[in-house]
Symmetry: C2
Subunit: 224 residues, 2 copies
């Protein structure tokens, strides 16, 4: 979609206006959105690997300054035309937040406010003192990485039953969830287990899933 | 809908089958469901006032034996034909669970399993030891009551911002949430405050609401 087209579809025209009017006058882009319903996930900043080493280092440093529970380096296959890759091609900082699952409660809103304020302080745009927001009674602030093999998928269509929680530390073989097939009364339930020592970054809430649909996203501490 | 009709709509026929085939052979009815999406609420057992004092006492006693975070006596205007009022008219125990908001995560599932097992132990149907499940790092188990004036509504259409969490203790005048009107750019935000000292039983998650739509449900310890 990005950089858009001035005479394209409505979405392409919006992308064009952002690219041609807003991007030239800003240094840092904050893309504040949430992870999506039917999931539970830690409030986090997500960034993808950036080929420009200097920009990658700067992006991670500013991301961590938000002091959100997780800063996540997410390795995945790039799609051409994304907002973030376009901003990176201009050599600018792109910070993308994932503010929890589909429902935002008071705790999450408090974390977002503190996180954005922390980020603006780190960028020198506002004055103030950095706060470390609590997430589910814990002070966290971890930098993790995840890659496509950390995305666990449902082995069959059915009802997914989550058996671990966001930020749980799991070892190889630990139970992540159970898939109860619904297309056959004789099919037994299928355990979904951790392939390796990991932290649970996000997990589907209980409910129906298709076969091969994502049900959990694991991660591990970012290698130095 | 209850007791149903054998030659009525599909729903009426199901109600009739439950009334004529299942109810005569059971003593206690467990109605396990959840509170609904767009809300956060404590896993709980909800019962309405029952005119038969003996049945009311028995129902509360068995409800509390589930050891869910909350047992709630909810005074509201009865609707004719509900499953619970029909069961009560037969002099049987009706236990209705509200298993949290629209999304069920691992913590909630653990609470439900323990709660149902505790209830079956109390009814003498299975053997075992009562467990006290934790809810958000706290061991709770409170009996509360709520009435129609505890249901706080949005003062206008707009975006509701929750500013307190489930199980928070609030005093008269404490901020429950903020309504940001969306139909006028000049309209200021409106604070929604606690009318009296209460416990937050359920609260809407952040998002759009209509005018006069419920955004929070308060409660207080059940008067002896």
């Amino acid at each position: 979609m990005f950089p858009g087209r001035p005479n394209g579809s409505v979405s392409e025209r919006i992308a064009d206006a952002i690219s041609s009017l807003l991007l030239p006058i800003v240094d840092n882009i904050l893309d504040l959105h949430s992870f999506g319903p039917k999931w539970d996930c830690a409030p986090s900043i997500i960034t993808h690997p950036i080929a420009d080493v200097d920009l990658m280092t700067k992006t991670l440093r500013i991301s961590e300054a938000f002091k959100l529970p997780v800063t996540l380096l997410w390795e995945h296959n790039d799609t051409a035309g994304m907002f973030d890759t376009w901003v990176h091609s201009l050599g600018k900082i792109f910070i993308c937040t994932e503010f929890g699952g589909g429902e935002a409660h008071a705790e999450a809103l408090t974390i977002y406010e503190a996180g954005v304020r922390n980020g603006l302080i780190a960028l020198g745009l506002v004055e103030g003192k950095t706060e470390y927001p609590m997430f589910r009674q814990q002070k966290s602030g971890r930098t993790l990485e995840t890659n496509p093999s950390d995305q666990l998928k449902s082995p069959a269509p059915g009802i997914f039953e989550p058996r671990c929680s966001v930020m749980d530390e799991v070892k190889q073989g630990d139970l992540i969830g159970i898939l109860h097939p619904m297309d056959s009364l004789s099919a037994g339930s299928i355990d979904i287990r951790a392939p390796t020592t990991s932290v649970v970054f996000a997990i589907r809430s209980a409910g129906c899933v298709q076969g091969n649909e994502e049900v959990a996203m694991l991660a591990r501490p970012l290698a130095p």
